[in-house]
């Protein structure tokens, strides 16, 4: 038995906005009978270009129906630009959460929304050049990449829960793992919240203490923070580092890299003149 929230049950038993809008401004169909779930989304705009009405027809389990219904409720009253910002997480949140194994239902909603907006704009699909990774469920590399990025997924099983990819024959598991590895090594540019100067200084100190110094000490070296000016971190090398010819490589490739990853991508590490 699935642990559905009361809201999922309510939106399954009494779904809002079932049906199809005649002469819609945007329409999309995603999923298939073979996959076990499918969603047809239609919407209509008012004179201010806001979504006046949205309707769905869904073939699928309770959470697919509830996610579709939630999506139509969420986007009503939104502009196209606002609607484009709706994520699968927003749909899941609206329902008070979904079981992990059912997150793909919220992803289906997001996909339908994007496709319907593309249809409205008459633009070619954004994800041209996408390659099918999972043959069983027809999931592309772009879809997997996005699910991994937006939901911070780390295992093939997660990806299957969110996109269905890999849930069939299993032949694509290696390819999915590669995508996960690739996405997770991307620098997380916009993921970090903005830090105040004080927070940033504290985070730099902590990061050096926890992540950097132990490695350096392992090799008999050390660094000391001399000053932090904006994004410039001025350090002095100590111990083995101070005499090591490769110390500036260590500073750039290790110290700076770690700080970029863990604090801010704009950090620059400089060595105080000896």
């Amino acid at each position: 038995m699935w642990e559905y929230t009361d809201k999922v049950k309510e939106y399954f038993l009494n779904p809002r906005n079932v049906g199809e809008i005649e002469n819609p401004d945007g329409v999309a169909e995603v999923g298939s009978l073979a996959c076990g779930d499918a969603l047809k989304l239609t919407f209509k705009l008012d004179e201010n270009k806001k979504i006046k009405d949205a309707k769905f027809k869904t073939f699928g389990c309770a959470s697919a129906i509830a996610s579709s219904s939630a999506l139509t409720e969420i986007i009503k009253g939104m502009t196209i630009e606002e609607a484009l910002k709706v994520t699968n997480q927003d749909i899941a949140k609206y329902l008070g959460g979904l079981p992990d194994e059912k997150m793909h239902c919220s992803v289906m909603g997001k996909q339908a929304l994007e496709k319907a907006i593309e249809n409205y704009r008459g633009a070619p699909p954004l994800e041209t050049g996408a390659k099918i990774i999972c043959e069983c469920f027809g999931v592309t590399d772009k879809e997997i990449e996005r699910a991994v990025r937006e939901n911070n997924l780390s295992t093939v099983e997660d990806v299957t829960n969110y996109t269905k990819a890999g849930g069939g024959c299993g032949n694509c598991h290696d390819a999915i793992q590669q995508i996960i590895d690739q996405v997770r090594t991307e620098p997380k540019t916009d993921a970090k919240p903005k830090l105040t100067n004080i927070q940033k200084i504290r985070l730099i100190e902590e990061t050096i203490e926890r992540e950097i110094r132990p490695s350096l000490k392992h090799d008999g070296g050390d660094i000391e923070i001399i000053d932090i000016i904006g994004n410039r971190v001025i350090v002095a090398t100590r111990g083995a580092c101070s005499t090591c010819k490769a110390s500036d490589i260590t500073l750039k490739n290790f110290v700076e890299q770690r700080l970029k990853e863990l604090v801010s991508p704009d950090i620059v590490v400089e060595e105080v003149s000896k």
Partner: protein, 393 residues
């Protein structure tokens, strides 16, 4: 709200008579049957009676009955014993539609140096014995085929299969968890070497099972410990449940005719009326070779989990072979092995009845199901007022 329980292949209600005979063995007669004193010894006597009751239902001898903790343990004990007693043989034959107790075990053994052949079934879920004949090799240690399928109720010709295996000197095991108590089984009339039963499928409690081992069959125990069960299964006997299972087997023998007349008639009525009232529906599994209590029906263009949850709102319990109910993304391995299209498998519902079901319950379900399917089809993009909106791809 009344519960209408049509999920008896999942588990059954403990019979009143079964519970009654069990109760004294929790507090009053709590002795250990292995004890020297009369207080324990008298429980041992009851276990002997239970063993005779189980043996009687199967046409077996009491010493051929080993009590275990469940059907899965019995299956594990049987297959592992076959392999342990034939250490030079590394091949196992089973089918694509077995219960996970056998399927997952064989998949595990395949990683341990054994070769596993899974025999296919046809679109009606039937086995072709010719395939079995072709698959047996001098390296084959054991053939394990289920007697009745838990999802479709389809019956395999296990007695004929056992004969074929014996001609080649191969051990034969059958998982008879679903068929015991539903169709007559007489081990005097066949050459089956090992057979598994689960108590809770025939109105005994959960946590008790039986492994039948034909006399003269070499056995290597799975559970090693004390001398219980003639050193074939260590562990203090689950005395109340053993005694309950004995009673349940006695009742099953008595109710066998009712199962095959009354229950079969209710099942047939349910099936016939649902197919008549709901378009684009069909039965999965050969109607001519089925357990009397089971029907598996696919409703096209709707998804099984959604159907079950709407049934649940009315207190009706059943199960589904859809992907969404399994926790995986693929529909039931049984339906896939039968080549049931995904589009049908996703909307499959298994109704499994028992002698406790009433005609009124069946009529209620017949009355309510069409509206449930119609309601979901009304939400489906593949359905346009009373007909499919497109051809299934």
């Amino acid at each position: 709200m009344n519960t209408i329980y049509l999920d008896n292949n999942a588990t059954t209600q403990v019979a009143e008579e079964v519970l009654a005979v069990m109760m004294p063995y929790f507090r009053e007669f709590y002795g250990n049957p292995s004890s020297m004193h009369t207080f324990g010894g008298q429980v041992g006597q009851k276990i002997r009676t239970a063993r005779e009751q189980v043996a009687a239902l199967l046409g077996a001898m009491p010493e051929e009955i080993i009590f275990t903790s469940c059907g899965t343990e019995s299956d594990n004990a049987a297959i592992r014993s076959a392999l342990m007693t034939r250490p030079d043989k590394k091949h196992i034959i089973t089918s694509r539609v077995e219960h996970p107790a056998i399927r997952a075990l064989c998949a595990h053994l395949a990683t341990q140096g054994y070769r596993v052949t899974e025999l296919p079934v046809d679109k009606n879920g039937l086995l072709d014995l010719e395939n079995l004949g072709k698959s047996m090799t001098p390296d084959t240690a054991v053939v394990s085929l289920m007697w009745g399928n838990n999802e479709t109720g389809v019956i395999f010709p296990v007695e004929a299969a056992a004969r074929l295996a014996h001609e080649k000197g191969i051990l034969f095991h059958t998982d008879a968890v679903q068929s015991t108590g539903k169709i007559p089984i007489n081990l005097k009339n066949n050459v089956i070497d090992m057979l598994s039963i689960s108590g809770h499928k025939l109105h005994a409690p959960k946590g008790i099972g039986v492994l039948y081992i034909r006399r003269g069959t070499k056995f290597s125990p799975f559970m090693i410990g004390g001398h219980q069960e003639k050193q074939r299964r260590g562990g203090t006997e689950n005395t109340p449940s053993v005694i309950g299972l004995g009673k349940a087997c006695e009742l099953a023998a008595k109710n066998m005719e009712k199962e095959n007349t009354y229950v079969a008639r209710l099942r047939d009525k349910l099936e016939r009326e649902l197919l008549k009232r709901i378009t684009q529906s069909r039965v999965n599994g050969d109607p001519a070779n089925r357990l009397p209590n089971t029907t598996n029906i696919s409703f096209e263009y709707v998804e099984g989990e959604a159907i079950l949850l709407l049934m649940n709102e009315l207190g009706i319990c059943a199960s589904s072979g859809s992907a969404c109910t399994s926790g995986s993304l693929q529909p039931s391995h049984v339906l896939r092995a039968m080549g049931v299209p995904f589009t049908m498998a996703h909307g499959s519902i298994r109704f499994s009845l028992s002698i406790n079901n009433t005609e009124a319950e069946i009529d209620f379900v017949i009355d309510k199901m069409p509206a449930i399917i119609e309601r979901l089809r009304g939400m489906s993009p593949y359905w346009n007022s009373s007909q499919p909106a497109c051809k299934t791809q």
